[in-house]
Amino acid sequence: MAGKIKITIDGKEIEASPGEKILWAALDNGIYIPHLCAGRDHHPPSASCRLCFVEIEGYPQPVTSCTQEVTGGMVISTRSERLDRIVGTGFEMIMTNHLTDCKACPKNRSCELQKIARERKFRLKPPRLPRLDRELPVDDSADGIKHDPNKCVLCGHCIRACREKGAGVLGFARRGFERVVTTFNGAPLGESGCNSCTACTLVCPVGALTLKV
């Protein structure tokens, strides 16, 4: 195809479109790079989950593959001791305040965190850091949607989905450890103007927003 450029990821030569981000080029060619917050149509990418780091030959530091565009002849590696340490630490920090209750979680076996752990051989329970439980109330006030903020990884997919397909009631609030996905004035979903379109439950990579059973 015209305009395709060649790049090398983990020794495998692949074709990518100019301007494409490394992450999507890799995923389209069967090379897995952990990611939570990235989306193909996000401009600019939020690059907030810090899991999609790769190393590029000639670059002094690892870069986030969701923000880095491909250029012809780029030689990229997705695994190294340094990358595994950076990504592993990022993953561990996410897991310190993710309520890990897989057995009772509707997302069990389809959870993005489980996938990352499996692919990279990380442990779901943070091996070095203490757990920091937020103990926030579960909100099941909306029709068909259950929101458990204790499982949220703050990727922001639900907020985008809510604005594109739903009533646009979801947003981020507060700061730091207390940051949450919530509605105006922290109202329960059922009283927030949510129209129960369930778009958020389809994009949530973990069990934070799920269909009520």
């Binding site: 947003g171 609030a173 700061r175 509605t183 105006f184 922290g186």
Partner: protein, 172 residues
């Protein structure tokens, strides 16, 4: 916090007045919120909705900004403002325990106001008298070497000195 109809009306009117003086570019959002707070003393939900409409953004985004910055309050300030120093020295001397004591005796969380509007509780950085750590500032008066017992005592003496509350109670 339950706001009266009058307060809600005031919030809407004042924010409309303020918004008239600002364009709807994103950069004006925080200056507008700061002006709302300086006029009303806090940023009530009705004002946030007015502001969101002016900037044509979801109201939850305004809520996100207001909750992100420490400078904004969501509840009206109380008649008595309690500020707990959370600076380094006070932190080391147990400011967290003092904060918890106030939260317990007042029945509110930091940043909130009691239902009777008597007290509001805030955290501040260093107030400049670290030798007295941990420090609480109540209406500009500095109280040093705070303990949970002292917190109980201060509230008790306040209630003794303000019998107005007691008059109200039988009527409840």
């Amino acid at each position: 916090m339950i706001l009266t109809e009058e307060e809600k009306r005031e919030a809407v009117e004042k924010s409309r007045e303020i918004l008239k003086r600002h364009d709807s570019s994103k950069g004006s959002l925080i200056p507008v919120l700061q002006e709302v707070q300086s006029v009303l003393g806090y940023v009530p939900p009705d004002a946030m909705q007015e502001v969101a409409g002016h900037f044509n953004i979801p109201s939850v985004d305004v809520y996100g900004v207001v909750t992100f910055y420490n400078q904004f309050r969501l509840t009206p300030p109380g008649k008595n403002q309690v500020k707990i120093c959370m600076g380094t020295a006070c932190h080391m001397r147990g400011a967290g325990i003092i904060m918890e004591s106030w939260e317990r005796v007042l029945g509110i969380k930091v940043g909130e106001t009691t239902l009777d509007r008597e007290f509001s509780l805030e955290r501040v950085a260093c107030v400049g008298c670290c030798t007295l750590a941990p420090v609480a500032v109540v209406n500009e008066a500095v109280h040093g070497k705070m303990t949970p017992t002292k917190v109980d005592g201060m509230l008790f003496s306040h209630r003794l000195a303000n019998p107005k509350e007691k008059e109200e109670k039988p009527g409840e």
